[in-house]
């Protein structure tokens, strides 16, 4: 590797001007731009969530009226779904890590990548501008007759969602072409890291499903402006048809949310148990299977919406089938740990938390696939708890794990390990305290999107509000020590966790603008630790300063033993 890391040119210090940041074509810098904006969105929408919980602390009016409450849960929903959770992992970690894991200099279309970022920021601003225009309520699903009757601000929300959808499509196209065309020599499909596989299947869903939300928004526009009578029941249209259009995008969208999380968990479990992923081929192909099966099951959102019984039955059966590959993935992760050498660093803690919380989310998902149970549980707090277990317990926990895992490569600094573990504990306790009581209020009959609730649900809602404070504390603690590590953190080595993927083994502490001096030649799979024994033989213990730099023999292309 080149000279001592502090003086060498890297992607951060080679050009510090604002213009070089705002007009950058470097996938790493675009990842950081996304990180900044998406963290702000997460902060804002998270605070809204705290207000929701604060209002629900007791029945009756506590801190706001019903109108304000309805708007807050709607904006919380729209921002969290469209502006945070869909772009979060692919745009931040995907942009930063994917080209390096492929051994490429950059994504296939760098300019398109920058355009996607500005489309995303533009879309988010349009959604927020809707607040100035008027009140927006109706949930993030903006169902047909209500979203046609409500004020014009819904036009801005849907236009913002349309523009962000465009950004999502372009990122998807970019990633698919990058993975197909820009792999380093020797990097066959079977040697790809599983994070790349998951980004590939996410991109497939982004490309194939997002256009339909585009046409749904366009038809909603025309419905409101011209009254074309396709969704509006007063003109003979069918509101259930709107739900079909909406959920044909939105259910695959939840797989856009969870698939990258699967990828991160495979990376974390592989690296921290220093063991080959059990059934690598199955785990990779099940991501692709989920991407395609994900488009067959949207009807389970319409079991009580007035759908024909034939459709409900078909969708119920297909929903069960998509549970299988997900279940087997979880089994494979656990079996990977068998006879591994497991090191409980902070990222690994998040991986274990993912396995617990996502399993609860998954099992309740299977429960909701059963027709009569969904008839009782649909649109109650049970559903709110289910999708928070899958989205926050799944996607956000995996994103935090990924952020911690790649933090040394992004910033070159290592965060404080003990604070990391405390925060992980806080998040685990806070999350369960917030959302497990909602399973019970939901199955006992408390509907969702309720400003006021009958008295018998009070104690559980109170518990949930206290939980939300603990969860918030955990999140702020993470923000605290990560920002602290930026300025005062210890310098991390180029490969602090002992991982085998190219972004760790073949780059400096902070990667150079084009990632690699010479395009690396790959001679083994991403998790073949037994083939890279020399990587681990001499380094001292200590958290994050030990370096697992690959000896130079790799560069001359001499194949490994």
């Amino acid at each position: 590797m080149s000279a001592d890391a502090s003086t060498s040119v890297n992607y951060l210090n080679h050009d510090r001007s604002i213009k070089s940041w705002l007009l950058t074509l470097d996938h790493k810098r675009i990842g950081i731009l996304y990180l900044v904006v998406i963290s702000l969105v997460f902060l804002g929408a998270g605070i809204l969530a705290l207000f929701i919980r604060l209002e629900q602390i007791a029945p009756g009016q506590d801190i706001m009226g019903p109108d304000a409450y309805n708007q807050i849960f709607t904006i919380h929903g729209v921002l969290m779904v469209f502006a945070f959770i869909i772009p979060a992992i692919p745009a931040i970690l995907g942009n930063f890590v994917l080209p390096m894991q492929l051994g490429a200099k950059d994504v296939a279309f760098p300019r398109l990548n920058l355009l996607s970022f500005y489309l995303y920021v533009g879309g988010a601003l349009i959604v927020l501008s809707a607040l100035l225009v008027g009140r927006i309520d109706g949930g993030w699903t903006f169902y047909a007759p209500y979203s046609i009757r409500v004020g014009d601000s819904i036009l801005f929300v849907t236009m913002g969602v349309f523009v962000m959808g465009f950004s999502s499509i372009l990122t998807g196209v970019n990633f698919i072409v990058t993975i197909h065309k820009m792999r380093a020599p020797g990097l066959t499909w079977n040697r790809l890291p599983l994070f790349v596989w998951s980004l590939y299947s996410t991109a497939i869903v982004q490309v194939l499903a997002t256009p339909v939300i585009g046409i749904t928004v366009l038809l909603l526009f025309l419905e409101r402006l011209l009254g074309i009578g396709i969704f509006d029941p007063a003109l003979g249209g069918d509101p259930v048809l709107f739900q079909h259009f909406f959920w044909f995008y939105s259910h695959p969208a939840v797989y856009v949310m969870i698939l990258p999380a699967f990828g991160i968990i495979s990376e974390l479990i592989g690296t921290f148990s220093r063991h080959r992923i059990f059934g690598y081929r199955f785990v990779a192909l099940s991501s692709i299977a989920i991407a395609f099966l994900g488009a067959l099951v949207w009807g389970h959102h319409l079991f009580v919406a007035g759908q024909s019984a034939l459709a409900s039955t078909v969708f119920s059966l297909l929903t069960f089938l998509i549970g299988i590959p997900t279940g087997v993935k979880v089994v494979n992760w656990v079996v990977t740990m068998h006879q591994g050498s497991i090191q409980l660093r902070t990222p690994m803690l998040y991986a274990l938390m993912f396995l617990i919380l996502f399993s609860i989310g998954g099992f309740t998902g299977i429960m909701l696939g059963v027709l009569p149970i969904d008839i009782h549980l649909h649109d109650t707090y049970f559903i709110v708890a289910h999708f928070h277990y899958v989205m926050v317990g799944g996607n956000v926990i995996a994103a935090l794990g990924g952020l911690h895992y790649w933090w040394p490569k992004i910033t070159g600094k290592i965060f404080n390990e003990t604070l990391g573990r405390i925060a992980a504990g806080l998040i685990f306790v806070g999350f369960n305290l917030t959302f497990f009581p909602q399973f019970i209020t939901g199955s006992r009959g408390m509907p969702r999107r309720y400003y006021d609730y009958p008295v018998e649900f009070e104690s559980l809602n109170q518990l949930s509000t206290y939980g939300s404070w603990v969860l918030a504390a955990g999140m702020f603690l993470i923000a605290g020590y990560l920002l602290h590590s930026l300025f005062k953190g210890k310098k991390a080595s180029a490969n602090p966790w002992g991982s085998l993927t190219l972004e760790w083994t073949h780059t400096n502490r902070l990667p150079i603008p084009h990632n690699f001096e010479r395009t690396p030649i790959v001679t083994r799979g991403a998790y073949d630790f037994h083939l890279a024994k020399d990587l681990f033989k001499d380094e001292p213990s200590g958290n994050g300063v030990d370096s697992h730099q690959v000896p130079d023999l790799e560069q001359e292309g001499r194949p490994e033993a």
Partner: protein, 227 residues
């Protein structure tokens, strides 16, 4: 950006820094375009689903209202669009064989055909607007023309047919306009000699986009005008 990587001296001008070879760049651009075409197909699929759902609910209203659409104009438009598809394919052929003059002529011919398509569309639309056939709530057909008593078409759910007709052909027309814009930009660059058998990706990609716009019309024409 400092060109850090050591690269062979004769790196062709059009090759972007992060690609290894222009072959890789060409394939990447084509695959990216095909992926974008799939998103266009799925965008229109929403409209085809809406059409099919309402047609299965009200088959006689839809086939009856379709009589109001002049299939001769639709047929003419189909031929015009197929011809423009041919001239685009010829254009790509000429680009590959370095015949710059013929390439420019083929592209200009394509733009003319597209313009003819839009003009025919304009007359169709104004013909309908004159008789009150508007998309949405202000749909009240009146008067008689071309052997049709428009008022007779004011039956329930006919408004839905014409709304779907206007939305489908409107969005398709918008894509034709975008096509015209793209081709004029390509013609200017072709005129300046930017394209050769070495590098003709923009022509090929715009060609792919145009063929897709033609395919959408191939499905629109029978569904709306004929059956």
């Amino acid at each position: 950006m400092a060109e850090a990587s050591t690269v062979t001296a004769d790196r062709p001008k059009h090759l972007h820094p992060h690609f290894v070879s222009s072959e890789q760049q060409f394939d990447a651009a084509k695959m990216g375009m095909w992926l974008f075409l799939v998103t266009e197909i799925l965008l229109f699929s929403g409209l085809f689903v809406a059409y099919t759902v309402f047609r299965i609910w009200y088959p006689e209203v839809f086939s009856h209202s379709a009589e109001l659409l002049d299939w001769r104009l639709g047929g003419l438009n189909t031929i015009v669009l197929l011809a423009s598809s041919l001239t685009v394919a010829m254009g790509v052929h000429y680009a590959q064989t370095n015949e710059r003059k013929k390439l420019v002529r083929a592209l200009i011919l394509t733009i003319c055909f597209a313009a003819v398509f839009m003009i025919v569309k304009y007359f169709e639309y104004t013909g309908k607007f004159a008789h009150g056939v508007f998309p949405g709530v202000n749909f009240d057909p009146h008067g008689t023309a071309g052997g049709h008593d428009y008022a007779a078409y004011n039956i329930p759910f006919a408004a839905q047919f014409f709304s779907i007709y206007f939305v489908m052909t409107g969005v398709h027309g918008l894509h034709v306009l975008i096509g015209i814009g793209l081709f004029s930009w390509i013609v200017i660059r072709a005129n300046k000699g930017h394209f050769s058998s070495e590098y003709y990706t923009p022509v090929e990609i715009t060609g792919l986009y145009w063929h897709l716009v033609d395919i959408i019309w191939i499905f629109l024409f029978p569904l709306l005008y004929l059956i």
